[in-house]
Amino acid sequence: MMKLDPKIPVGPLETKWDRHRFSEKLVSPNNKRRITVIVVGTGLAGASAASTLGQLGYQVECFCFQDSPRRAHSIAAQGGINAAKNYQDDGDSVARLFYDTIKGGDFRSREANVYRLAQVSAQIIDQCVALGVPFAREYGGQLANRSFGGVQVSRTFYCRGQTGQQLLLGAYSALCWQIERGQVTMHPRTEMLDLIVIDGQARGIVVRDLVTGRVSIQTAHAVVLATGGYSNVYYLSTNASGSNVTATYRAWKQGAAFANPCFMQIHPTAIPPGDEHQAKLTLMSESLRNDGRLWVPKMAADHRPPGDIPAEERDYFLERRYPRFGNLAPRDIASRAVKTVCDEGHGVGPGGQGVYLDFADVIERQGQDVVHERYGNLFDMYNRITGEDAYHVPMRIYPAPHYTMGGLWVDYNLMSAVPGLFVIGEANFADHGANRLGASSLMQGLADGYFILPYTIGHYLATAKLLPVGENHKESRAALQRVTGRISRLLNAKGRRTAASFHREVGKFLWDHCGMSRNKAGLELALRSIPALREEFWRNVAVPGSGEAFNQELEYAGRVADYLEFAELLCHDAVHREESCGAHFREEHQTADGEPTRDDTCFAHVAAWEYREHAVPILHKEPLAFEFVQPTTRSYQ
C-alpha cells in the first residue's frame, strides 16, 4: 500500500526552508563525480536543473524529444515571470506573493511549498540577469515590471512578449556551458518511453532514439522528470503540439502517484477555434487584459458589427460581476464568465464561441502608439491568424486549455512516491493548487530547477542505499520489453483511422464533459465511453512506416495511446471532487448566482491516485493543513 508523506518540515513558515536545507546531508565533491542523474526535459525546469546539477559536479544525462533543448515548450511563454522584489514599492513582499498564490490556487496547495516558492522568487530574477536575460528596463536602467491577472501589485518581470523564450535561452546557455565542460551529456531527439524501478528505487529509463528508432536503456542513480504538462489531452490547447503526458503517465504506471489530475487551467484569452482542421489554439497574452475590456452584446444573437453596438447595449460582464478586479479577474473566473455569456447566447463570431476584447478606450486615452509599443507583436499575431486588425475592430477571444496544475505527486523535496524519482516544473502538482496565477509557472519551473531540486536530490543521493545496476538487470529488461511490445502493437494494428482522429475525439469528449464545467452525469458518460474508443484505437489505428527509423506518426500514436488511458484518470478525479474549487467547477456545487462553492470540510486534500492494472485507480488523500492562512471564500467581487 502506497504511503504518501509530504515531509513538510515543522516550525515557523518563514524558516522551514532554511532549517531544512541545513539539516540535509551533502554529497562530497569526490562522490558527486561518480553519481549519474538523468534529467528528462529541457524546458525551464529541466534545463535549469540539468545545468545546476552539472555545475555541482554530478554526471548528468539529459533528454528531450525536440532537435534542440532550446525548443522546449517553455519557449512559448509570453507574459512574464513573478518575483517578490517589491521594486515598485507597492506593498509587495514574500508574504504577499505567498498569500496571493495560495488564495489564487483556491486553498488547494501546500503552504510550505508555496512559501518557499515565494522566498526563492527574488533570486531567480538575479540569476537570470546574471545569465544575460534582457529583461525590460526603465529609462533609468532599472528592471521594469507590469501587473498580471489576479493580483494588485506590479511584480511581473518580462522581455517584451517573449519572456519564456528569453528565460529558456538563459537556462539553455547555462546548459551549453555544462555540456562544453563535459558535465552534461545532451540527448536531443530522444524520447523517454518508460521508467525503470529496481528495488523500489527509480534507477533509469527506456528511451527511443527518434532518428534511428533504436530503443535503449539508460541507468542512473536518480531520475528527474521535467516533462511539462498534459493540456494536449484536450487535442486543442495553447501548448506546443509535442507537449504530452507520456513520461509522467508511464512513471505513474510504475508506482508514482498522480495528484489532482482534474485541476486543469482553461485560459480565458485564446483566439477562438475555427474549422475542424485546426491543430492548436493560439494564446493571446493575459497582459492584454490590463488594457483591453471584455464585452458581449446585451441582446442575445446580436449580429451587428461591434462598432454599431452602442455602449449602453454592451455588457462588460467582468466589470459588472467583479467590480473590484474587473477585467483582471483570475483565469478560472474569467474563463467561466466567458463561457456563461456564450452559453446564454451572447457569444460573437462563428458558432457564437467568442467575446470581444476591446482596446478602443485605451487607444483613445493613450494613443495607438502606446498600445503598439505594449502589445504590437500580439496584435500582429492576431492579424496574421484571423486577418483582422485589432486596432480598429475588437479582438475575439475564447477560453482554451492551457496549463495543468495537476501532475505527479511530490513531497516537499520534490520526490515522487517512487524514491529516486523527482518531478519538477509543470510536470509535478506542487504549487498552484486548483488554479495558477499568471506568470507563476515560469517562476516555479526555475525555482524547482535552479534552487530547490539541486539541494533536495543531494540529500537523497547522500543517504539512499544505491546498489550498482545495469542494462541487464531483469527490471531493465522488463521495461525494455514493455516498450518494444507497445511499439510493435502500434505498428501491427494496420487499421484505417489516423491517430489524430482518435486524439480529436477523446479531446472533444473531455472538453464537453470534463472542461470548464463538469457534472456527475457527464463525467460518468465519459468514463463509460473512453474505454470503447481506446479499444477501437488499438484495433483500428493506422501507423505507417517502421519502428527502426525516423517515424513521427509512431511517436504521435504512442502519445495518443497514453491520452486514451489518462483521460479516464482525469475523469475519475473530477468525479471524486464533489466541490467547486479553482478551475474545477462542478455544476452541482454553485451558489444561486453561479459562484463556485468550495467544501473545506470534505475536500481540503490533495487527491493522489495510485495505478492498478485493469482496475479503478486507488485514491489516497493528503490532507492540507492551513496553519498560517485562513482559507476564505475566494472573492474577487
Binding site: 555545475q55 512559448a76 528596463r137 523564450q165 546557455s173 551549453c176 525516423f550
Partner: protein, 262 residues
C-alpha cells in the same frame, strides 16, 4: 480552395530524394500552411502511406522548429514570419506550391523536410553563454542597463535559431545567427568579461561545422522570421577585430567599470 504541392521526399539521409506531387483539396482560407500539410498527411496515413515528415512544435513562430523552403524562399513569401505563421489565404486558389527542406552542407537531411540543425547548438556550446554559477548572483538592479541598450540586446536575443538565414545564403553561412548570439551577450554588461573568448570560439565553431563565409548579400535578413538586422553582422565583425586587438596585447578601448577580466 485547392492546391498542387510539389514536395521533396527523401526516405533517409543516404537515399536520393525527389519531388512528389500531391493535391490538397478543400483548403479553407483560415487554414495555416502547416494545417494544410497536416490534412494532406491525414489522407496519406489513412491510405497506409508514410506521411511527409516536417518539423513543427509551437506553431506560434517562437520555437524555431518549422523549417520549410516554400516556392524557393525559406519560411515562404512573407517577411518577418516563420513557416507556421503562414496562412493559406496568402496563396491564390489553384496555385502550384513547391516545398523543400533547408539545404546546407551543415544541415544534413534526416527525412523528407527534416534536417539536422545540431550544428547551431554546437556553436552555442563553444561559447554562447555567460559562465555564471547558480546562486550568488548580485541583485538584478546592481548593474543598471539603459533602456536602449536592453532593447538592442533584446532585438538580437529574439533569434529563434531556426537556420533560415543559413538556408537563404548562397554560401550557407551562419553569420546572422552567430551575430545575433554574440551581440546579445556583448551588449550587456554581464556578457562583457568573456566577450573576447566568446566571439573567437563561436566563429571557429562555425567554420568547423562547415558553414560558409558571409558574402554580404543579406538574403539572411530578408528571410529571418524575427527580422534580425544585418547590423548585428557588422557588430560581430567589430567584436572579432576587437578580440584580435585584445589578444595582441595592445590596449583596447577601456570599458570601466565592467572591463574584461582577461
Amino acid at each position: 480552395m485547392k492546391y498542387t504541392l510539389k514536395i521533396w521526399r527523401q526516405k533517409s539521409p543516404d537515399e536520393k530524394g525527389r519531388f512528389v506531387t500531391y493535391e490538397a483539396h478543400d483548403v479553407g482560407s483560415g487554414m495555416s500552411f502547416l494545417e494544410m500539410l497536416d490534412s494532406v498527411n491525414q489522407g496519406l496515413i489513412a491510405k497506409g502511406e508514410e506521411p511527409v515528415a516536417f518539423e513543427q512544435d509551437c506553431r506560434e513562430g517562437i520555437c524555431g522548429s518549422c523549417s520549410l523552403v516554400i516556392n524557393g524562399i525559406p519560411h515562404g513569401p512573407d517577411r518577418g514570419m516563420a513557416t507556421c505563421q503562414l496562412y493559406m489565404r496568402r496563396f491564390p486558389d489553384g496555385a502550384v506550391i513547391t516545398v523543400e527542406p533547408w539545404r546546407a552542407r551543415a544541415f544534413p537531411i534526416i527525412k523528407d523536410l527534416v534536417v539536422d540543425r545540431c550544428a547551431l547548438d554546437r556553436i552555442m556550446q563553444a561559447g554562447g553563454y555567460i559562465s555564471a554559477n547558480t546562486g550568488g548572483a548580485v541583485d538584478g538592479n546592481v548593474l543598471l542597463i539603459g533602456k536602449d541598450q536592453a532593447e538592442t540586446a533584446m532585438d538580437a536575443a529574439s533569434c529563434i535559431g531556426c537556420g533560415a538565414c543559413v538556408a537563404a545564403c548562397k554560401n550557407a553561412s551562419a553569420m546572422l545567427f552567430v551575430a545575433a548570439k554574440v551581440s546579445h551577450l556583448a551588449i550587456l554588461p554581464q556578457g562583457k568579461p568573456e566577450r573576447t573568448h566568446r566571439v573567437r570560439a563561436m566563429l571557429e565553431a562555425m567554420d568547423r561545422e562547415g558553414f560558409g563565409s558571409c558574402g554580404n548579400q543579406y538574403e539572411c535578413e530578408a528571410v529571418c522570421p524575427k527580422s534580425i538586422s544585418v547590423r548585428f553582422i557588422a557588430n560581430l565583425n567589430r567584436e572579432y577585430v576587437r578580440a584580435g586587438v585584445v589578444e595582441s596585447g595592445l590596449p583596447a578601448e577601456p570599458e570601466s567599470p565592467h572591463a574584461e577580466s582577461a
